[in-house]
């Protein structure tokens, strides 16, 4: 059997089941389609609202410079941007990292982006207006643009994040973080931390905050494809603070199953970046573990647990003994 499975280039449903892999259908039916979920979706789909919730719960977020939701406001905002050296423009309803423009420095009144493009002010204006007209929002609805502080990645990520800011994705179920992954941008992902665009995901030991495993394009991977650097064994600074942010945010939003994206700023520490209502499933490959058993454990225990310390204990308890 072992021999056979080595040659096989696909998994059998029984393999996936044994590993406790959660499939898309099971995720959608079992965890996303809760009774009162729809009404809460705006809080995660709209980054302006997410930011508001974070501020009201004292969860740190990147500083907002401006929120533009009318075409008439663009000129006013551009005057503000001229004074800034680095900033990020993103759509409030964006998904998959689309429509995000990162300006890393300014040279003779031109803006240099993280992709190396040099943009003039009219180009920035155009980008904002495409965001407002709904190019990047789900269903092409009119959208708002957020201008915020650019995150300076922590030094621990030097050499393993190419062209963008890495972030930490935590899946939180019923208020308890159940799985975590460090997402590293690559050349292929054009600096974005989205796995389906080619970013690398690295599993994180929830107990220690140390990375292990890894996934790229759904294949097991232990190194960064661009630099060849080892992506295992990195201890993520301020790990417990990240877990606390995820738990607080999950409680504030009220959805039972979410993905929380946290960035680590070199000066200000962990900050909540966004919340995803339909977090991807490749995190299971990165962690070499399925989500099913962990979700079931929470289902059997979490109802009565409300205190953060107990939740943390539960989180730590999810980690298998053999995890590096």
């Amino acid at each position: 059997m072992v021999q056979l499975s080595k040659w096989r280039s696909f998994a059998l449903p029984s393999d996936l089941k044994r590993f406790g892999i959660l499939g898309i259908n099971a995720r959608n039916i079992g965890f996303l389609l809760g009774p009162d979920m729809r009404s809460l979706y705006p809080y995660v789909d709209n980054k302006v609202l997410t930011k508001k919730i974070c501020s009201s719960c004292h969860i740190p977020v990147p500083e907002t410079y401006a929120i533009i939701d009318r075409f008439g406001d663009i000129s006013k905002s551009l005057r503000l941007l001229e004074k800034l050296d680095e900033f990020v423009i993103k759509p409030a309803h964006g998904a998959g990292g689309h429509g995000i423009l990162v300006v890393v420095r300014k040279k003779d009144n031109k803006f240099e982006t993280s992709k190396g493009e040099i943009l003039s002010l009219p180009r920035i204006r155009y980008h904002i207006s495409t965001i407002l007209s709904g190019l990047y929002s789900l269903g092409s609805h009119p959208d708002a643009a957020i201008v915020e502080k650019r995150i300076a990645p922590h030094s621990v990520f030097t050499g393993i994040a190419v062209g963008g800011t890495p972030d930490i994705r935590l899946i939180v179920y019923k208020g308890v973080p159940v799985m975590g992954m460090l997402r590293l941008p690559t050349k292929a992902s054009k600096g974005r931390a989205n796995l389906h665009q080619g970013a690398v995901g690295v599993g994180i030991n929830l107990k220690t905050g140390q990375t292990f495993g890894g996934v790229r394009h759904n294949r097991l991977s232990d190194i960064h494809p661009d630099t060849g650097a080892n992506i295992q064994g990195i201890v993520i600074p301020q790990w417990s603070k990240m877990l606390t942010i995820a738990m607080k945010l999950s409680d504030a939003i009220g959805l039972q199953y979410i993905g929380v994206d946290i960035v680590l700023d070199s000066e200000e520490g962990p900050m909540a970046l966004e919340v995803n209502a339909r977090p991807g499933l490749s995190i299971q490959i990165a962690n070499r573990a399925g989500l099913w058993p962990r979700l079931r454990t929470i289902d059997s225990q979490a109802e009565c647990i409300t205190r953060t310390a107990e939740k943390l204990k539960l989180t730590v308890g999810l980690v298998r003994g053999d995890t590096p």
């Binding site: 080595k6 590993f19 898309i24 039916i29 007209s133």
Partner: protein, 524 residues
């Protein structure tokens, strides 16, 4: 969660039981009146061979339409290298196929097949014979014609002899009918076929008799016209038959002086052409040969003849006129296309551009020439993408940009239609009318995927769309399924049940067995 699951399975079961019950009930109801009512279905076939003398030569073929007794349940045409358009006469409601030859080097064939359901109970037809006639039409049905010579001395002489000077119109019609059916002897051969000669010689065939009657009526200032059609009876060499219609008291009333039917003709008289005798006409200089055959069909559940009294005939869509049925069948196929898409997306895990794109693409090709359609689809996609790439330089806002792509798609399609017509590829323009809005959105989404996620991803989704569209096409293209959904619209209940079941499927998608393949390596 378990509750939802059970409820869904229960709902699906209920839908299926309801569907089975409806189908069963209908099949049962269908068969009974079928036997008791004696309604029947006939297949009329035209075989026309056309030797054109020059490109552009035309063929005019009169087609049967629905009448009070006849209902065209099915029709099929086959015509290679002929551009065919079907026109309907606004006054007589007659349908006529106009075929144009693009290449006159070899003879071309045109075949048409009609399944005609005959109801012995008359119903209100789409075309009412009780429409008032305007003065120009009235004059047309009173005028002198080449074979209906109302001003010929022979016609005038006979009319004077039978009219007695001051008869009422009704009496006059009666006398004319009596004279034509009784006083004119049956000639040995078919001739003479024109009114004047027939009345002069006092003998004629069926056509001459009909023309004589029409001429006498016109001479007596009663509008009249010839009706040509078929008497439905098994025959491999059927001959068109002509009878007369007389406009009296604002109504066209049929008379057959040959077989002596007045005021009404039997239900198996299938009228095809009003005001003429030739079913197939060809343009001057060309030659054409034609045969007609009529055959009575065995009954099948898909070709039902049901009573007109029972209210559930509302659900019997096969009784509707053929042109309406085609549209309805197309609409009824939409959910099945959506079901196929749901199957591919949720069970197999193939991504597509848009939920309904594959279905609509497939449907647009179902009733047309799919090969040409597919080539044009790819061409428009290519040109559209090229334009979209160019447009990217202009940095336009979303809606105007979409508008431009829509314009490009529309223009490409128009040019494609015109080119096809010029090269004599596609039979008609409508055969390649792709859904332009869907094409526009597809180009836009393809481009955005290309920009954001790379060419590999964009191609993957495009392939997914094409694969799903192809599967939709294969299923929807089969002639059988169109007929099944029309005969049994209740089938949609099964489709709904399948949607419920797919909607609750929480197992792995086939694509996930591939996606998570590396998991197998870990267990070693």
């Amino acid at each position: 969660m378990v509750n939802h699951h059970r409820a869904a399975i229960f709902a699906a079961l209920l839908l299926m039981i309801a569907g089975a019950a409806c189908v069963g009930l209908r099949v049962k109801c269908m068969h009974r009146p079928l036997l008791s009512q004696g309604g029947n279905v006939w297949r009329l076939t035209y075989d026309v061979e056309f030797h054109a003398n020059n490109p552009g030569a035309r063929l005019y073929i009169a087609l049967p339409s629905d009448t009070a007794y006849a209902n065209i349940v099915n029709e099929a045409f086959s015509h290679e290298r002929l551009a065919v358009d079907i026109l309907q006469n606004k006054e007589t409601w007659d349908r006529e196929a106009v075929a144009v030859v693009s290449d006159s080097s070899t003879p071309v064939k045109f075949t048409a097949q009609f399944d005609v359901k005959i109801n012995t109970h008359a119903k209100q037809p789409a075309y009412s014979s009780k429409r008032p006639l305007g003065t120009p039409e009235k004059l047309r049905y009173l005028c002198n014609e080449r074979f209906i010579q109302k001003d010929d001395p022979n016609v005038v002489r006979v009319l004077t002899s039978i009219s007695d000077g001051r008869k009422t119109k009704a009496k006059l019609i009666e006398s004319i009918f009596d004279y034509c059916s009784e006083s004119l002897a049956q000639s040995q051969s078919d001739g003479p076929t024109d009114a004047a000669t027939a009345l002069q010689q006092g003998q004629c065939g069926a056509l001459g008799r009909a023309r004589a009657m029409a001429a006498l009526c016109r001479a007596g200032r009663i509008p009249s016209r010839l009706v040509t059609g078929f008497i439905l009876e098994n025959s491999s060499q059927a001959k068109p038959f002509t009878w007369v219609e007389i406009y009296h008291k604002k109504e066209w009333i049929p008379y057959d002086p040959h077989n002596e039917f007045s005021l009404q003709v039997p239900a198996n008289y299938l009228p095809i052409k009003h005001g003429g005798v030739r079913i197939v006409k060809n343009s001057e200089g060309s030659k054409c040969f034609f045969t007609y055959s009529i055959e009575r069909l065995e009954k099948t559940p898909f070709m039902t003849v049901s009573s007109n009294i029972m209210f559930w005939n509302i659900f019997d869509l096969t009784r509707l006129p053929i042109s309406m049925k085609k549209t309805l069948a197309l609409i009824l196929l939409l959910p099945i296309g959506a079901l196929i898409t749901a199957f591919f997306r949720n069970l197999i895990g193939i991504q597509t551009f848009g939920t309904f794109t594959p279905t609509l693409l497939a449907l647009s090709l179902v009733n047309s020439d799919w090969k040409t359609g597919a080539i044009i689809f790819l061409l428009i996609l290519g040109i559209g993408l090229l334009c979209r790439t160019t447009l990217n330089w202009l940095k336009l806002l979303a809606v105007p940009r979409l508008g431009i792509i829509l314009t490009v798609v529309v223009l490409c399609l128009i040019v494609a239609v015109s080119v096809c017509e010029y090269l004599g590829f596609a039979p008609t323009a409508r055969s390649i009318l792709l859904p332009v809005v869907i094409m526009t959105m597809m180009i836009e989404r393809f481009f955005i995927t290309l920009e954001e996620d790379g060419g590999k991803e964009a191609l993957r989704v495009l392939c997914g769309t094409v694969v799903v569209a192809t599967c939709c096409f294969i299923v929807l293209h089969s002639a059988r399924i169109g007929q099944v959904v029309l005969t049994f619209p209740e089938m949609q209940l099964f489709v709904a049940a399948a949607f419920v079941l797919i909607g609750r499927y929480s197992g792995y998608r086939l694509s996930e067995l591939w996606r998570f393949r590396d998991i197998v390596k870990l267990q070693g």
